[in-house]
């Protein structure tokens, strides 16, 4: 158990920027270094974690911890990955807070805003690209993206409602992949 906590603390504190860098470290520690999961088990856990609400990597840590040491493993893995990393994040925020009102920091913020905005837009494109179906169904998928965009941009509609309606619609109207496309269901 101690080794499990140590591995997750290392994953949480050594990966910078989240996403792929964290995923690669999880794979290195859990599969390659300790052999707690096989490559196949890891890939399956990763695929299932993509279906989770919230932070996918927390779901992945929880599922891996459960396989290794039951519920104690879940808590050890998630807390190990999240708590020290969250401490670093809060400490960085506190440090930035000391200089946030300086003119130079304000100027930096005026450049960081469009940078984070652009990164958010790119993430939207990547999410849409990965979730879309092939063939004529892509038009329906694109319409869902455009309508959600328009509702928030022009009508300030409820984001929660947009997601809930789209999920409901998805259960009935967005489920089918063209059989001949040969693309695996996500």
């Amino acid at each position: 158990m101690r080794e499990l906590v140590r591995a997750w603390i290392a994953i949480g504190t050594q990966s910078v920027g989240g996403g792929t860098s964290t995923l690669l470290l999880i794979r290195r520690y859990i599969v390659e270094r300790h052999g707690w999961l096989s490559h196949r088990e890891f890939t399956e856990a990763w695929a299932l974690s993509q279906l989770s609400p919230g932070i996918h990597l927390v779901a992945l840590a929880g599922m891996i911890g459960q396989r290794i040491a039951g519920w104690r493993g879940v808590i050890a893995s998630v807390a190990g990955m999240m708590v020290p990393a969250a401490f670093v994040t809060a400490a960085m925020t506190a440090a930035y807070g000391l200089i946030a009102n300086e003119p130079l920091a304000r100027a930096a913020l005026s450049g960081m805003a469009p940078a984070t905005g652009g990164m958010t837009l790119a993430l939207a494109l990547i999410m849409a690209r990965d979730a879309r179906r092939h063939g004529p169904a892509v038009i329906v998928d694109a319409l869902v993206v455009i309508i959600a965009f328009a509702i928030l941009t022009f009508a300030s509609g409820s984001s929660v409602l947009v997601i809930a309606v789209a999920a409901l619609l998805g259960a009935f109207a967005l489920r089918r992949e063209r059989p001949e496309s040969g693309r695996a269901e996500e």
Binding site: T13, S15, V16, G18, G19, T22, L48, S52, P53, G54, I55, H56, L57, V58, G62, M63, Q66, A79, M82, A85, A86, V88, T89, M92, T93, Y96, L104, A107, A108, L109, G111, A113, P114, A115, T116, G117, G118, M119, T120, A122, L123, A124, L125, I126, M127, A131, D141, I147, F149, T153, S159, V160, I163, A166, A167, G170, A171, A173, R175, E186
Partner: protein
């Protein structure tokens, strides 16, 4: 209801209804910025620090929690973002078959496509925060950030730091 409990419930709800660490951004912005609890400047700082800090990038919510409520705000954010994804632990044990059905794939696809649309709207408004006064170089930073992030070859921290440096040069 105390402020702490209210913040916890908002972050818990928004994490539970979003897909991915950044998926909750439009929801959190609507719940906290539109109501005056946080500002867009704080959201941008949180997003930037989330990209520069260690751990999953969903930790931007912890940075925002710290800005709103200090260390207790950060602790609340850790708890609120850690709980919803854990629903997958019993779900994969009990309902693995359901998770692999076309209907569930459709639910996830619908939620993902809608989240993409909402994130696109949020990203656009973060780039054009200054409205008509948005400078050409801010639009250029936005465009370059889109291209670099989409390609995925450059570390996200570099994009944030690059934006900050250009801001220091041109935004004074």
């Amino acid at each position: 209801m105390t402020h702490e409990l209210a913040l916890f419930l908002v972050l818990l709800k928004d994490s539970a209804l979003a897909l991915g660490g950044l998926g909750s951004l439009p929801l959190i912005r609507q719940d906290l910025v539109a109501t005056g609890i946080a500002t867009d400047a704080q959201v941008v700082q949180a997003l930037a620090i989330g990209r520069l800090s260690t751990g999953p990038n969903g930790l931007w919510i912890v940075s925002l929690g710290y800005q709103i409520g200090g260390w207790s705000g950060a602790a609340i954010a850790v708890l609120a973002t850690s709980l919803p994804p854990l629903v997958m632990v019993p779900a994969t044990a009990a309902g693995r078959r359901f998770l692999l059905t076309p209907a569930f794939a459709g639910i996830v696809r619908g939620a993902t496509l809608a989240t993409a649309g909402l994130l696109a709207s949020t990203g656009t408004s973060l780039i054009a925060q200054g409205g008509v006064t948005t400078a050409w170089w801010q639009l250029a930073i936005g465009a370059v950030a889109i291209a670099l992030t989409y390609q995925g070859r450059i570390h996200p921290g570099v994009v944030v730091v690059g934006g900050a440096l250009i801001g220091m040069l041109l935004g004074r």
